[in-house]
């Protein structure tokens, strides 16, 4: 009797479950087909729209080419590149899928620039941005052999290379004039241990005959501080950690609230892989740039673990003091990235250690609200007497870890490379970055280039920038960066001094005047041309090797102990946590990590 009832219940529950499951799986394809159904007519619409635009588009393209020819009396180089000339097989549409390791949003289908590029080349790039965890995503991709056509995986690309996901490019690149001009001189640095080149680096200016490195206008990482704080303190020189927190404390005392929000002195983001605010500052205090998990003595190339140095002890003790003074709040360690960004967006955060791209969105919002005095500037904080090493001047050597690779699943790599080569024409590059002359950009008084206010407004708006300009496409494809050597013109808006100055708000101009400098980067020591190995974080460790395990452990242990050190109740507790930290840190297999890094540095320096 009991058994029967039990069976009945089980049966009933399993039926409910399976019904639910069937309902799920049954309705899904239905939805899919529905989506496709609605999509198709839409496609048809855009097709006709495309066709209509194609005519007008070609007209303008023709006009431009004409203007180019008449306006610039066509130097031979100009003719060689030939303006926005369509590719021969532009009427044969092809789509490539492109996975990007960054979280992001795909540009709108009706993005006029990308539409025009597709029209001129026949190539559509279908971007897929990262959702969730990159390593997981790549792991799944590798396990299933399910690769898109192109992948930009950053320093996680080594996994894909080891899995044999990429096709070798060393014999392909020389076939394409623009790609060859870009990568030809640095192929040896892109060559992996097996003798093949698998990726085309997309960030940085490499040794070549077309471009040279542009000087930085701003420092891209370090201790940021709100401009209002510096203004109120009378534009002081801020050089040490003590200086930095001193003016933050003073400002906090005078302004317990900013725009109705309680003032926060210093934020430390420690969310998942965004952990540099917690882990990195000490190497900067020692005068290094953004190097990695070891400090490298630039003269002797000796490596050491700065995490357990006396400098680290002193730095985190200082942070502990600031915590006790209420400048740092404990909640900073439990918040996630979104909470961090929204907190900065309130304008009530006075300082943080970060890299500019990471809080860019918050800064953009502050600018959009007109709160320019609440935006941030990096200051050259080091230990007393140490020359700061924040600014890089590229050595023209690709890191080997910021490349896009073409996968074995790509059916027509030749056409894709031809597309990339086509994109690397100067006219196309200018079109993607600057837009059209007159409407999007103009020549400045001293002959440089600057954007029109309309275009600047578009570029400042994340959504419009994505949906109305070609910057997404530009960003993830091979591209020229720096200054064109032929005429000294900047490749992009970010490298144009005229655009930098023109885009500054009145507040920023007076801020720079207050310091008597032209660019914020002038607060720092001159940019350093880095050694060939630089940086350590870009060295790849073999999957599953003891060095890779040790590397993960180093992050794990430091992530665990630094917050505790900062939140220590008093000095005695600080010291006891520090001792625990040393103990646990030293149980890591540090030697295999250090040996591996040392040998890789030696290898790279020997190239």
């Amino acid at each position: 009797m009991k058994l029967k009832k039990l069976c009945a219940i089980l049966l009933a529950s399993s039926m409910v479950l399976s019904l639910a499951a069937c309902g799920g799986s049954g309705s899904e394809p239905k939805q899919d087909t529905a989506a496709e159904d609605t999509k198709e007519p839409e496609d048809a619409n855009t097709d006709t729209a495309d066709a209509a635009e194609e005519e007008s588009g070609e007209d303008t393209a023709g006009d431009e080419a004409g203007a180019d020819a008449s306006g610039e009396t066509g130097s031979s180089e100009e003719n060689y590149y030939g303006g926005l000339v369509p590719l021969d097989d532009a009427d044969d549409p092809i789509t490539y899928t492109f996975f990007v390791r960054d979280p992001g949003v795909v540009p709108a289908d009706n993005n006029p620039v990308i539409q025009k590029i597709t029209e001129l080349t026949g190539v559509t790039i279908k971007f897929e941005f990262l959702v969730g965890d990159l390593d997981q995503k790549l792991g799944v991709m590798i396990a299933g052999g399910d690769y898109p056509d192109v992948i930009f995986a950053g320093d996680a690309g080594s996994k894909l290379r080891d899995a044999g996901a990429f096709i070798p490019l060393e014999e392909e690149i020389p076939k394409y004039p623009n790609l060859n001009a870009m990568y030809g001189n640095v192929l040896k640095y892109l060559t992996q241990a097996d003798g093949h080149v698998y990726d085309m680096e997309i960030y940085g200016t490499f040794q070549n005959d077309v471009t040279e490195v542009a000087p930085p206008f701003e420092c891209a990482l370090g201790f940021y501080i709100q401009k209002a704080v510096l203004e109120e303190a009378g534009y002081p020189e801020v050089k040490t950690v003590d200086d930095y927190f001193k003016i933050i404390e003073d400002y906090m005392a005078n302004h317990p609230e900013i725009d109705g929000v309680k003032t926060t002195g210093f934020e430390i983001l420690a969310d998942g892989w965004r952990n540099w605010a917690l882990l990195n500052p000490v190497q900067n205090l020692l005068g290094a740039g953004n190097d990695g998990a070891v400090f490298v003595n630039q003269d002797t190339l000796e490596t050491s673990f700065f995490q357990i140095s006396d400098d680290a002890h002193a730095f985190y003790q200082k942070l502990n003091e600031e915590y006790q003074k209420g400048v740092i709040e404990a909640e900073t360690f439990t918040q996630n990235y979104d909470q961090y960004i929204s907190k900065i967006t309130t304008g009530a955060v006075l300082g943080f250690y970060d890299q500019n791209w990471n809080f860019q969105s918050a800064q953009d919002l502050l600018k959009a609200d007109g709160k320019f005095e609440r935006t941030y500037v990096a200051v050259p904080i080091t230990n007393p007497g140490v020359k700061d090493g924040y600014l890089d001047k590229s050595n023209g050597i690709p890191s080997g870890t910021n490349g896009i690779g073409i996968t074995v699943n790509c059916e027509n790599p030749d056409r894709l490379l031809r597309f990339f080569d086509w994109l690397c024409q100067r006219e196309v590059q200018d079109y993607l970055q600057w837009g059209e002359e007159g409407t999007d950009w103009v020549y400045s008084a001293d002959g440089g280039k600057e954007l029109t206010p309309e275009r600047r407004a578009i570029v400042r708006d994340t959504a419009r920038k994505r949906d109305e300009t070609g910057l997404t496409l530009w960003n993830y494809c091979p591209k020229w960066q720096g200054i064109y050597t032929s005429d000294g013109m900047p490749c992009g808006t970010g490298e144009s001094p005229d655009e930098y100055l023109a885009s500054q708000s009145d507040y920023d101009k007076s801020f720079l005047e207050g310091y008597g400098i032209k660019y914020p980067a002038e607060m720092f020591s001159d940019p350093i041309v880095r050694a060939a190995y630089y940086p350590v974080w870009a060295l790849t460790l073999e999957d599953g090797s003891p060095a890779a395990v040790a590397n993960t452990k180093i992050t794990d242990v430091t992530m665990k102990f630094y917050p505790r050190l900062i939140l220590a109740k008093d000095e005695a507790e600080y010291e006891s946590i520090w001792n625990d930290f040393l103990k646990e840190f030293n149980t890591i297999d540090l030697e295999s990590y250090q040996t591996e890094i040392d040998s890789q540095i030696a290898q790279k320096m020997a190239k």
Binding site: K5, V16, A163
Partner: protein, 306 residues
């Protein structure tokens, strides 16, 4: 001989039934047994580019690495603790909730309560964890505001920063999200109880509480045991999202579960062999748990699954 013939005859008589069960067996084989062949990875230094045949065998090295790592044992402890707390509390809450719901006389109110209570089940953990972290925030968070208003604490507590609270946070996030959903089966079981039993109890003068205790609970006892056994098998799998999303460096000692450990030291650094070894470890423990509970249930005279 005749016995075998008899068996064959019986089998032949049931061939329609065998045909009906065949698809299920194929399904189970393809999706549950065939993938087990991948366990071979755990004994290799597996590299995806080389495949099973090309990778070198390393014996029990991966297991050695796991068992020698204190972090792994911490993860095992955290997984077990969080899962068992989860199991116990979600059981108790779901059963009590079902019992109480059963006592509501107004049918409309009962339905509304039931629907509202299982809606959180359909929210993703990302959303639920954001809610939780906002509620527990020291900066104008609901829980701290409330506790301060009634005077229990005088300054905000960093709920998500202190190790001692974390297991409770995950447990009650789970309870909040799943109680309504988990109670559905009990409500179904309760509605299957013979009404005559209640009438008989009433005639005997049983109070409402006595009816719950002596009629309803025994009526769903077998359901409870079956679900307990089934859920125990999932204990080690049930702790990834919440600790992963709400955890931070501060909490690592109590928030890192086996799955998170495997993600960090297996998947993230391309050590698939280690991930597989940990998977095998989990399967073995789960099997032990299921068989153990089953045996206990048998001993106690309950219906067991096997």
């Amino acid at each position: 001989m005749s016995k075998m013939q008899k068996t064959l005859k019986r089998l032949a008589g049931q061939k329609v039934l065998f045909l009906m069960i065949l698809p299920c067996m194929i399904y189970t084989f393809i999706f549950s047994y065939y993938p087990l062949s991948g366990w071979i990875m755990a004994f290799q230094n597996y590299k995806p580019a080389k495949g099973y045949s090309g990778s070198t065998f390393v014996g029990l090295d991966q297991f050695k690495f796991l068992f020698q790592d204190i972090e792994f044992w911490r993860s095992v402890r955290n997984t077990l603790a969080m899962s068992l707390m989860n199991l116990v509390f979600s059981f108790v809450f779901a059963i009590v909730f079902a019992l109480l719901l059963n006592e509501i006389k107004s049918l409309g109110l009962k339905r509304i309560t039931q629907t509202v209570s299982y809606l959180p089940h359909f929210l993703s953990w990302i959303i639920v964890c954001s809610l939780v972290s906002n509620m527990l925030s020291t900066n104008d968070g609901m829980v701290n505001n409330f506790l301060m208003a009634i005077g229990l604490i005088d300054k905000p507590v960093l709920w998500l920063g202190e190790q001692k609270y974390f297991w409770w946070v995950t447990t009650f996030s789970n309870v909040w999200k799943e109680t309504g959903w988990n109670s559905i089966i009990y409500i179904a079981a309760i509605s299957g109880i013979d009404q005559a039993l209640y009438e008989a109890a009433e005639l005997d003068g049983a109070s409402r509480f006595q009816k719950m205790w002596h009629v309803t609970l025994p009526g769903i006892r077998s359901t409870i045991v079956v679900l307990l056994i089934m859920n125990l098998g999932w204990v080690l799998n049930a702790s990834f999202e919440v600790p992963y999303i709400l955890g931070s460096g501060l909490l690592q000692d109590v928030s890192q579960t086996i799955d998170i450990f495997v993600l960090k030291y297996g998947m993230s650094i391309g050590n698939y062999s280690l991930a597989t070894a940990a998977g095998i470890f989990k399967s073995v423990i789960s099997l032990l748990l299921v068989f153990g509970t089953n045996a206990v249930a048998n001993k106690l005279g309950e219906n067991s699954l096997m």
